[in-house]
């Protein structure tokens, strides 16, 4: 069997092996490519940075294991930025069953419980079932929907929750997801109450959110791992996302190379 026949027969294995190398090598030995900042990310950063003491930020999330790599780094970066702001109140809420696990993981990663006081500076409400109805309930009357937080503490015992009743009391909402639930915040918080909303999304979800961004209905988007890397650069806390951008760059180049080879072969007489 000739080399060409071997390559043709085992092309999938060769492609998989090359892709593995193209991703793994930059992850282990980062190249250090510059990370340009997109306007969508800059807008989120500027809005978070302009928050004043007493402002309330809702961090909605539907992070699960499958989207962990893309969205979790965004979540941690924004949380870190919020925790650097004095007097800003943070409410974490999940509308996916796995979300509370990642919310707690992020809180521990940034040492939230050592840096700020639970119940005074931040609250974790946990998972609320019901999809859009749950988000609507939060925006209408939070206390009639929920009596306790994630750990079962009565909301009435948490000082920061005394003055937070509905979406009028939320300064901004940032939702992290890969599904249609980001839209729920637009329907239930932005449309009736005018509360500012931004999204942290996986790459496949960005195109439809971008239509809302250009229409001015959301104030910013963190676009997948790229958005996370840009935010890490902006808050000067480079992490896994910045490392991942080198791997992503190489993988994209590899894909482009494959497309070109495919078309060269096609036009060189293999049209059949």
């Amino acid at each position: 069997m000739s080399l060409r026949e071997t390559l043709d027969r085992n092309y999938k294995q060769i492609i998989y092996l090359c892709l593995f190398a193209v991703i793994a090598i930059p992850l282990m030995n980062p190249i250090g490519l510059p990370v340009p900042i997109d306007k969508t990310t800059r807008d989120v950063y500027d809005r978070v940075d302009s928050l004043q003491p007493g402002d309330v930020v809702v961090m909605g999330s539907n992070i699960g294991a499958s989207i962990y790599a893309e969205v979790y780094p965004q979540y941690v970066s924004i949380l870190e930025h919020l925790f650097r702001k004095e007097g800003v109140k943070v409410i974490l809420v999940g509308h996916g069953t796995e979300a509370p696990i990642f919310a707690e993981k992020a809180l521990n990663e940034i040492k939230a419980y050592d840096r700020k006081e639970y119940g005074v500076d931040f609250v974790h409400l946990g998972y609320i079932a019901g999809g859009e109805a749950a988000i609507s309930g939060m925006c209408r009357d939070l206390h009639s929907l929920l009596n306790v937080d994630y750990e079962g503490h009565p909301l009435s015992d948490l000082p920061m929750m005394e003055d937070i009743n509905d979406a009028n009391d939320f300064t901004i909402i940032i939702d992290f997801t890969a599904s249609a639930d980001s839209q729920f915040w637009l329907n239930q918080a932005y449309a009736p109450y005018g509360t500012d909303v931004a999204f942290g999304l996986t790459a496949v979800k960005v195109p439809d959110a971008y239509a809302y961004y250009t229409a001015g209905q959301i104030f910013g988007i963190l676009e997948s791992l790229k958005g996370a890397a840009q935010y890490e650069v902006l808050i000067n806390r480079p992490g896994i996302a910045v490392k991942g951008m080198d791997a992503q760059s190489m993988a994209h180049l590899f894909y482009i190379g494959l497309i070109l080879i495919c078309n060269v072969k096609y036009f060189m007489g293999e049209k059949k």
């Binding site: 999938k12 492609i15 998989y16 892709l19 991703i23 490519l33 510059p34 990370v35 340009p36 699960g64 294991a65 499958s66 989207i67 962990y68 790599a69 069953t97 509370p100 696990i101 707690e104 609320i128 079932a129 019901g130 999809g131 109805a133 749950a134 609507s136 309930g137 209408r140 009357d141 009639s144 929907l145 750990e151 009736p192 790459a203 195109p207 439809d208 971008y210 239509a211 250009t214 229409a215 676009e223 790229k226 951008m245 080198d246 992503q248 760059s249 190489m250 993988a251 994209h252 180049l253 590899f254 894909y255 482009i256 494959l258 497309i259 080879i261 495919c262 078309n263 096609y266 036009f267």
Partner: protein, 211 residues
């Protein structure tokens, strides 16, 4: 007979509930707001109840598969055992953030789930080689747009030449966003039409299907 009675009663209830929620959106009235909030909270409770119903349905279905030894029945045992272990760990430790629960999740579920999602990258690579051929003008346009968008989405594009991500951004702004907005408006109109059909009782699917 009962089915007809149920459908007409449900249609009336559905009409009243949807009109209440709609009017509350447009008109500020404290009584209406209380009723509307209560209705909304009921929906949340039903959503939570549906989770339990889903778990029950899953247990029954897979128990049947095991008892009748249907194809791939051992996987049903794995599923039920996993459910049992997760539920027991959560109940015993009292929290899904306990270290035991976290260990199961982060050492089994998370790597498996991330691996499945990550495998897409390999399939896309293989598909890039096999399928992305410029067989027509439309396919060529799609290919060229895809290449510029990939170079826009990775820092390497700007490193090669600043014009590459700029072209990608232009395609993104003027072609991608415009097309997506048209699709979203279409979805919005479709949703509105469906909502109206439900309100006036023409759409029977939410009530258990059409006759």
């Amino acid at each position: 007979m009962f089915k007809d009675f149920w459908k007409s009663t449900a249609s009336v209830v559905l009409f009243i509930v949807t009109i209440t929620i709609l009017v509350d959106f447009a008109w500020e009235n404290p009584t209406l707001q209380t009723v509307s909030t209560d209705l909304n909270n009921w929906a949340v409770i039903i959503g939570a109840f549906a989770l339990g119903l889903g778990a029950y349905s899953l247990i029954i279905r897979h128990s049947r598969i095991i008892s009748t030894r249907r194809t791939m029945w051992p996987y049903s045992i794995v599923l039920l055992l996993t459910m049992l272990i997760f539920a027991a760990t959560g109940l015993i430790t009292g929290s899904i953030t306990s270290s035991e629960y976290g260990w199961i999740y982060s050492t089994i579920i998370q790597p498996l789930s991330s691996t499945l999602y990550g495998m897409n990258a390999f399939f896309i690579a293989s598909a890039s080689y096999r399928a992305f051929k410029a067989r027509s003008t439309e396919a060529l346009l799609l290919l060229v747009a895809a290449i510029f968008l990939m170079l826009k989405n990775a820092p390497i594009g700007g490193v090669i030449h600043p014009i590459l991500p700029a072209i990608g951004q232009t395609i993104w702004d003027f072609v991608g966003a415009t097309g997506m907005r048209a699709i979203l408006i279409g979805i919005g109109i479709g949703t509105l039409a469906l909502g109206l059909r439900v309100i006036i009782g023409q759409e029977k699917t939410p009530l258990g299907g059409a006759d």
